[in-house]
Symmetry: C2
Subunit: 160 residues, 2 copies
Amino acid sequence: MRRKSFGTMNCSVAQTLEVVGEWWSMLIVRDAFLGVTRFDDFQTRLGISRNILTNRLEHLVERGVLERQPYQDRPVRYDYLLTEKGRGLWHVLAAMRQWGDEWECPHGPPVVVEHLSCGELTVVVPTCTHCGEALDAASMKAHAGPGAGPGQLPVLAGSA
Amino acid sequence: MRRKSFGTMNCSVAQTLEVVGEWWSMLIVRDAFLGVTRFDDFQTRLGISRNILTNRLEHLVERGVLERQPYQDRPVRYDYLLTEKGRGLWHVLAAMRQWGDEWECPHGPPVVVEHLSCGELTVVVPTCTHCGEALDAASMKAHAGPGAGPGQLPVLAGSA
């Protein structure tokens, strides 16, 4: 069953889901960040059917998240490598990992992350590009941007 | 068709997907952050069937992301409000929005975000909790954490 496409929604979150929102896609991207490049290694780690894995890898290549590089000629076999666009998903993945660590992992984080330049185990803190303060939901307000369409933001009783 | 559960995978990204990885869930959470609380308002903004929306809202309530508060008695009607756990998804959503802005929105961001305390339109910068430096994929290394199981990280040729 093909799900509804979010491709026509004028929303960056929906556009991101259109590229990596399929069940499995973010776990494939996660493993690519951990250095997995080959079909059989993705399959073993994920326990996914070859058919679904083939589809997901093709979609991620089509949308520019992964690129294929042949490592063998007869038969041709590929490494799947993150592109610059794919590496940009690091922040999404880190935020997901940290939320799961906090709310869904009662036995402690399965994975911790070292910041190589300072040598410490790190937690990613979202900060403001202007003032450097740590950000959270309560400190922010959304406005229509240059690419906004009509009805971009909900009109709510009591909102400005 | 019920998809494979990620609930048994020992991975915080998989656990996060188990809670909010269903198609639509992050768009419901997005709208909740924008102040939408009522069934009909979610439905109108998302263009989703009542049946699917009911299922998704129930799942998000069961998993503690949203809570229901009655605003009317006969018939009983509910507001759906983000819990503390739900508000914690703000960072995930911000990272998704920014990736979509950068890679999938050629006409510019549909939504921009003001940091209320400094008054500037802001971009969320992921920084290290120890040294405060901006982080990216290349500056980090994953290690097995206290909740790790066997084979938590892939064993790769050339890795330490």
